[in-house]
Each structure stands twice: as C-alpha cells, then as structure tokens.
C-alpha cells in the first residue's frame, strides 16, 4: 500500500514538473511543448534553422543524465519485448504521432489543458487504442 501511495505521489510530482516545463516553454518561447512536433521540426529540412528545438533535445538528454545519477531506477525496464516488436512499435509511434499532430505531451497535457477539441479526441483515441492493444496482446499471450 505504501509503495502504491508513493507511486501516486511520484506520478503527481512528475506531472507537476512536466506541466511546469510546458508552461515555461509557453512563457519563454510562446510554443506548445510537444515532443513529437519538436522532433518533426528537427528532422524537417524546411525548419532546421530553428535552433531552439535542438537545444530542447539537448536539455532532455541532459535531464536523462541527471536522472541516471540521482534516480537510478528511473529507467528501469523489466518488460520483455522482442527486437521485432520494438521496431514495429517505434514505427507506429513515429508515424502515428506525426500523422495525428501530437503525442502524450502536446495533445495529452497541453491540448487537454487548453480544452482543444482535437487534442481531447486524440488523447481519448490513443488511450483507448493503448488499452485495447495491451488487452489484445495479453489475451493472446503475445507480449
């Protein structure tokens, strides 16, 4: 029970930090903090001149390094997934988030907060498909 409460607390605290970083992005740069959108911008030859995107990712990697030293279990991964399923998942997430113009950050946090109808619908959709996928794969013992 104690670990249950602490994992709720950590999730909430992490959520507050995520919300704060997204809000600061708006205060400083007037942009939505959407990881898939920023990634698309970095990889699109038409928008490569906008250096702030590279700096955002540099900050994320720096954050990853800080986490490795301060919260060693932050990157714990006990899931067993074949290389093939990771490839498929990477392709689906890459294509899906660009096609749908957002992911968990841009739609799920920023868009939902702004009550954007597109983001609300996208968030409900990716959640439902996430639930269905886990159910399906567990039912057939595939993952």
């Amino acid at each position: 029970m104690e670990t249950f409460i602490s994992s709720f607390g950590k999730a909430f605290l992490g959520g507050l930090l995520i919300g704060l970083s997204a809000l600061l992005m708006l205060v400083f740069n007037g942009r939505i903090l959407g990881v898939s959108g920023i990634l698309g911008g970095v990889l699109n030859s038409n928008s490569r001149s906008e250096l702030w995107r590279y700096f955002f990712f540099a900050g994320m990697l720096l954050g990853g390094v800080v986490l490795r030293f301060t919260l060693p279990n932050a990157f714990e991964n006990t899931l067993e997934r074949s290389d093939f399923s990771l490839v498929i998942a990477g392709v689906l997430v890459g294509w899906g988030t660009r096609l749908g113009s957002g992911c968990t950050s841009g739609h799920g946090i920023c868009g939902v907060s702004r009550l954007s109808p597109r983001s609300l619908l996208a968030t409900v959709t990716f959640m439902l498909f996430g639930f269905a996928t886990v159910w399906f794969f567990r039912k057939w013992g595939l993952i």
């Binding site: 990712f57 997430v93 899906g96």
Partner: protein
C-alpha cells in the same frame, strides 16, 4: 535568440526530469497503466492530473501577456477541425505505445541509458519521422 535557445534547454531538462520522477520512463509502469482490463496500475493517471493542473491554471494567465518573453508572438495551434488523419494517427500511436510502453518523450530521454530497447525503439521512431517529413515536404512542393 540566445535566450530562446537557453530557455528551450532548461525546458527540456525540466521536462525529462519530470518524466523520470513520474514513472513514464519505465515501460512496465506504462503497460500497467494501459492494462485497464487486467491488474490495472492507475498511478500514471496522476501524471496527467499534475500536468493539466499546472498547465491548465497557467495557460490563460500566460496568454494574457501580449507576447512571450523571448519570441515575437505566441504560436499555438488554433485548428478545431477533426479529420481522419488525427484519428488514424492517434490510433496508430496508441497501438505502438501499448506494444512497447514508450511514447516519444520517455523514449528519447531513455536513449542516454544506451539500453537495447530504447535504442531500437528510438532509432526506428526517428527514422520513421524522418521519412514522414520527407514525404510531407514533397507533397507540399507538388501542391
């Protein structure tokens, strides 16, 4: 200009730390959250609660300012148009998320671990986005 880049770096740093604290960088926790028809672990719901709380309260207040601190104007999506692209994209993303337990932010932050799963997932996600942007640019040139 330099302020814009430095602030993006700070946002990326804070964002990644938020992800790590919240548990979003642990794929088994994500799958536990998506396993709503099984042994559901609702803790990650509080990431959204925390994020939406900060961003939802802050957004209207920040938008009262005439412009962001380090950019000429706010660039926030205004489209309210629901189309097939949005839904199909969100659905594909949800499936990929449900397979590997990674969404774009946590996958990119996890690259610093050089772990096999984030590397395979991340590389294929990045390659897919690269191809998506190429196709997108070609379409724009034609039309």
């Amino acid at each position: 200009m330099r302020q814009q880049q430095l602030s993006a770096l700070v946002c990326g740093l804070l964002f990644a730390i938020g992800l790590g604290v919240s548990g979003m960088t642990q794929p088994q926790k994500v799958i536990g959250f998506l396993n709503i028809f099984g042994a559901w672990d609702p803790s990650l719901l509080f990431v959204m609660v925390g994020g939406v709380l900060v961003y939802g309260l802050g957004y209207p207040w920040v938008k009262k300012a005439p412009k962001p601190l380090f950019a000429p104007q706010f660039l926030v999506p205004t489209s309210r148009h629901i189309d097939k692209r949005l839904l199909v994209g969100a659905a594909l993303f949800g499936i990929g998320w449900g397979i590997a337990g990674f969404c774009p932010g946590p996958a990119l932050a996890s690259l610093v671990t050089l772990g096999r799963a984030p590397l395979i997932f991340g590389i294929f996600m990045i390659l897919t986005v690269l191809i998506f942007e190429r196709i997108q640019n070609k379409k724009e040139r034609v039309s």
